[in-house]
């Protein structure tokens, strides 16, 4: 193991540049450990975002050696075999400063894809019994562990080319709700995801499923939405 790492960090906003720092190499060191070392021991003005440090909150995603990753669960040994690390802000999102991006467009697209649960019952009614082995529930479960880290959104070529595209996370959320029997969103949600920024813009490049830290498969969820919206369109349940 090398004694030191050469770490290039993005500094500034959109028109910033990479600056290089030397960071001591340690056993079981994560990329977030490296960024934290720079901020605490070299330059306290470095801005970055993190919270839980254990892969739950989805706050710490950054671009590491060209690929978006959750930095708290990415070991340096896995991504920096040559001893060099280049860490930048997530792509496809506006840079606020250094390694922090503005996540507002990401979450606005969740809203546009109607990623909000629409209840069919009130708290005064009996809880609906859903069998875990129910096929629809299995489809909903497949995408429910999303932590909103934005890795799939940053990895997506279609988001890069089409500013209106909702992106993998928002569409995966919509797919979860489409399969949730307790949800009342129904054809209104299908209508929302069948529009110009919706599921039909996906090119199935599969970068989202390759890089999703939760090993989810947004491409499969989007393919499911394509099938479901097409069937609804042909039945006349949604409009073009």
């Amino acid at each position: 193991m090398l004694a030191e790492l050469s770490v290039s960090l993005w500094r500034g906003a959109k028109d910033g540049r990479y600056e290089t720092y030397c960071v001591p190499r340690r056993e079981s060191q994560t990329v977030l450990d490296v960024v934290t070392f720079v901020q605490r021991h070299i330059d306290p003005t470095l801005s970055y975002r993190f919270a839980c440090r254990v892969g739950v909150c989805g706050s710490c995603a950054m671009t590491v050696n060209g690929k978006p990753r959750w930095t708290c669960r990415t070991h340096v040994a896995k991504v920096a075999g040559s001893g060099r690390l280049e860490i930048g802000p997530l792509e496809n999102l506006p840079v606020i400063k250094d390694l922090t991006t503005d996540m507002q467009p990401f979450f606005e697209k969740w809203q546009q894809a109607q990623g909000v649960f629409a209840p069919t019952k009130t708290r005064h009614e009996e809880i609906e019994q859903i069998r875990p082995d129910n096929p629809a529930r299995r489809l909903a479960d497949a995408a429910i562990e999303c932590i909103n880290c934005g890795v799939c959104y940053a990895a997506c070529d279609t988001v890069r080319w089409n500013q209106d595209y909702f992106g993998p996370a928002a569409l995966t959320r919509a797919w979860t709700l489409v399969n949730d029997e307790r949800d009342a969103g129904g054809s209104a949600r299908l209508q929302a995801v069948a529009g110009s920024g919706g599921c039909h813009s996906c090119h199935s490049h599969q970068s989202c499923q390759e890089l999703c830290p939760q090993a989810l498969n947004p491409t499969a969820a989007i393919a499911g939405l394509k099938r479901r919206t097409t069937a609804a369109y042909l039945k006349g349940e949604i409009k073009a």
């Binding site: 089409n162 529009g195 097409t230």
Partner: protein, 108 residues
Amino acid sequence: MTMRLYVWQRATAALMVPLVLVHIAVIFYATQKGMTAADILSRTHGSIMWASYYGLFVAAASIHAAIGVRNVLTEWSPLTGLRAGRLALMFGLLLAALGARAVLAVVL
């Protein structure tokens, strides 16, 4: 891409799968048999079947390609959806005209 364009593009793609396979089979047949252009034209002239087959092929390919070009233009060029759509429509009409000319040349 809108729902309507998506359905048209997938439907024309599905239609072209058997059309392409038969087209390739015809090419193999013609080359294996050592047929000349005159031999082929003698079989296609006046044939409503070949006119319909390749007419349908040209229509499907023109629609499919125009929708694809529209997507490429909206994603990779500064053109907006409406302008990209108009340009793609012109491209589709050009393909349809060239294809129709070729079909008419072998069946009339």
